[in-house]
């Protein structure tokens, strides 16, 4: 049964992608897309249940390995993916109707979208660190054209930057993978399984700490580029602004999370051979810097898509601080933050897509009176905005508090003494406040105020609103109750990461 579920997980996006190339009608394209996404979600639920009841899953000659951590990531891929598919129904059709996309290019869009999904699923379930690398580089290749899908000058520029920066970053990660292999081969001697996560975990304590340290630095910088940590983030705001809204939602919500997952996977191995403080301080330092710099850049933005992009850097930085500080609270907080951020950010990008379609501008100053022009999207934007600003009823508040608590109690990894702890907590809170104020100020400015005369008012119900509703309810709900299965999944995943 699990074998079939894993097969569905990998075959559904692949088949749907190839099939999309053959279909001409947009109706059928959406059906294939929704169908494959439904299968994907069903397979994920089944696998998560198996992981919870029977422990980790290993199939296909140990090529696929799924434990609680991969299940959490799969859960994010599935949920955001499904919401995205629903949203694309109205979004893409309108683009075709408006003539922004030629009808015959629609199936190319869906093909690339499915390949993007496939690569992310593969990166999450692969047991081999090498295959994981190949899959993450494949996400870059699949999304380059998706980002530049409008083919405007700006989109081409954003696509080129993304392709070059991410490919180069990822090449550094490959050097890290080579070094991992180098160290494990000396212990294992078996060529074919020496890169397997399961094997590496089993022999991690025997691996050479010098090599692992060097390997982790390369892996961290490489995958960190993909996460968008400062200073490797310069591709990110451009790509998120230029990409079509559903693609931006997937990039911000899911791809970043998958890249974080790749870092966490390697870290789980490195930490057993080297003191966890080494990787912890690296993560926490880059996380804190990303958080602080992104918070400052949030204040400068005039473009609401860039605003959301910098908010992504900020939240990823915060999650990194959580993982870096470690301990049960820090890691749990970090993982929970990843989940919440994925939902809030995709919701925000969906709303931004609706706003862009109506106002035809990305300037914050030119968007006013959303509440009367697009009431549904305005509500969604408010929900996402309040959640991203980490206001109490929403779950991001809980996860942020967990991360700050962890930092306050365990202190900065590597030990900077009591002053260091106080200082870093203070810095975190201060930057959090700056981000909170800047972010909310901009969003409330867009929602209220008089609507411009030129913009048509009113928002007819469409399939896309279903995903807005779904994500809003999910975000609000997670703030009140964490469903026991999800809680257990997160709990198990964080015990895996905390290790000893």
């Amino acid at each position: 049964m699990t074998t079939i579920a894993v097969a569905v997980l990998l075959c559904a996006p692949f088949t749907a992608g190839c099939w999309s190339l053959l279909i001409r009608s947009s109706q059928q394209l959406h059906l294939v897309n929704l169908g494959s996404m439904g299968l994907l979600v069903a397979a994920e639920i089944l696998l998560a249940r198996t992981v919870l009841t029977q422990g980790s899953v290993m199939v296909f000659d140990e090529m696929v390995y799924i434990d609680a951590l991969s299940s959490v990531i799969l859960f994010i891929i599935g949920t955001v993916g499904l919401a995205c598919s629903l949203y694309m129904r109205s979004y893409m059709d309108e683009q075709v109707a408006r003539g922004t996309i030629a009808p015959h290019r629609l199936n190319l869009f869906f093909f690339l979208f499915h390949m993007f999904l496939l690569a992310m699923v593969l990166a999450t379930v692969a047991n081999s660190l090498g295959v994981q690398w190949v899959a993450i580089e494949a996400t870059t290749l699949a999304t380059t054209f998706l980002i530049a899908f409008w083919r405007r000058r700006e989109s081409l520029e954003a696509g080129w930057k993304y392709l070059i920066l991410c490919s180069v970053g990822i090449s550094l990660a490959l050097f890290g993978v080579v070094l991992m292999y180098y160290s494990s081969l000396r212990v294992l001697g078996d060529v074919n399984s020496a890169l397997n996560i399961t094997q590496l975990q089993a022999i991690a304590t025997q691996l050479d700490p010098h090599i692992l340290k060097l390997a982790f630095v390369f892996l961290f910088v490489g995958y960190g580029t993909k996460v968008g940590l400062v200073p490797m983030h310069s591709w990110l705001p451009d790509a998120y602004t230029e990409a079509p809204a559903p693609v931006a939602a997937m990039l911000a919500g899911v791809l970043e999370t998958v890249a974080v997952y790749a870092i966490l996977r390697s870290r789980g191995i490195v930490d057993q051979a080297v003191s966890p403080e080494f990787s912890g301080s690296l993560l926490a330092l880059f996380g804190l810097v990303s958080f602080a710099i992104a918070a400052l850049f949030l204040l400068l933005q005039h473009n609401y898509k860039r605003l959301l992009a910098y908010s992504s850097i900020e939240h990823m930085g915060l999650a990194m601080v959580g993982f870096g500080v470690g301990g049960p609270i820090g890691v749990f907080g970090g993982l929970f933050h990843l989940v919440n951020h994925a939902f809030a950010k995709s919701l925000a990008f969906f709303a931004a897509g609706n706003i862009h379609r109506r106002y035809k501008t990305v300037e914050i100053g030119e968007v006013q009176g959303l509440a009367s022009v697009l009431p549904g999207s305005a509500l969604a934007l408010m929900v996402a905005g309040l959640a991203l600003a980490a206001l109490p009823p929403f779950a991001l508040f809980a996860s942020e508090m967990q991360i700050v608590t962890a930092l306050g109690t365990s202190g900065f990894p590597g030990g900077w003494g009591a002053q260091g702890v106080g200082g870093s907590v203070l810095l975190l809170l201060l930057c959090g406040l700056v981000a909170f104020a800047g972010f909310l100020y901009r969003i409330t400015g867009m929602v209220w105020g008089p609507a411009p005369q030129t913009v048509v008012q009113g928002e007819p119900w469409s399939a896309g609103h279903l995903s807005l509703l779904f994500l809003s309810l999910l975000l609000a709900g997670l703030g009140w109750v964490l469903p026991p299965p999800l809680h257990q999944l997160l709990e198990t995943a964080s015990t895996l990461l905390v290790g000893r």
């Binding site: 081999s128 380059t144 700006e154 930057k161 070059i164 090449s171 050097f175 292999y181 180098y182 090599i211």
Partner: protein, 222 residues
């Protein structure tokens, strides 16, 4: 071949790696784009030769496959694509340099030293045969990385990316006698697709900006 003792074998591998590094410097010093492409093809040929040598000396069969792929993909297919791109775009020289040639060469020299210093603590664990190659591999990766920043033409940046990839492949061969075949194949597939995408992209950039000079890409600002 009784004369091919491990010691001579190791020296030959060192020689091959050194040739790779030398072509790196030549690429950094070169202004003519077509010559850069030729040098890259040559470097890939050296890489394939070094890998074949390692395969022969150690009896690791699957490196032969990777070496053959290197020749086909990196010495023939990708250079061919790049030459056509250059022909179509009608750009022959790299004119925009963020760092001029003499300074670039000095920096690359420093990068080589850095690579040797970084790998010093772990080199002694390596196989006798390929001990120095790991440091050279890292040096090539770093030089590729630097070239990417220092040059502005899309074609040169692409070559720099491919040079990095060559360094990585040398590293994998040197450190561990090649990665598992499935990973190796995956990496080749990715590199090939990346090169093709970048090839298509340079065309689009030319159409949209009338230039493949990436410094013109400045529409997106804070």
């Amino acid at each position: 071949m009784s004369w091919l003792t491990p010691r001579i074998g190791a020296q030959l591998v060192d020689l091959g790696s050194a040739m790779l590094l030398l072509t790196c410097f030549a690429i950094v010093a070169q202004r003519r784009l077509s010559a850069c492409v030729d040098l890259f093809a040559l470097q890939s040929a050296f890489l394939a030769m070094t890998a074949t040598l390692v395969a022969f000396l150690t009896g690791t069969r699957h490196i032969y496959i990777a070496a053959a792929l290197t020749v086909v993909v990196k010495s023939v297919v990708i250079p061919h694509v790049l030459r056509r791109v250059i022909e179509r775009l009608n750009v022959t020289r790299e004119l925009v340099m963020n760092v001029n040639v003499p300074a670039s060469l000095l920096i690359c020299g420093a990068l080589v030293m850095t690579a040797f210093i970084i790998t010093q603590p772990i080199i002694s664990f390596g196989h006798l045969l390929t001990r120095n190659s790991l440091a050279i591999a890292l040096a090539i990766v770093l030089i590729g990385f630097f070239t990417m920043i220092a040059r502005q033409k899309a074609v040169t940046q692409l070559i720099a990316f491919l040079v990095m990839e060559n360094g990585l492949f040398l590293g994998a061969t040197a450190a561990t006698y090649g990665m598992p075949l499935i990973v190796e194949l995956g990496v080749f597939f990715d590199v090939l697709i990346a090169a093709l995408i970048a090839g298509i992209y340079t065309n689009r950039l030319q159409d949209a900006f009338d230039s493949v000079d990436t410094s013109r890409l400045s529409e997106l600002k804070e």
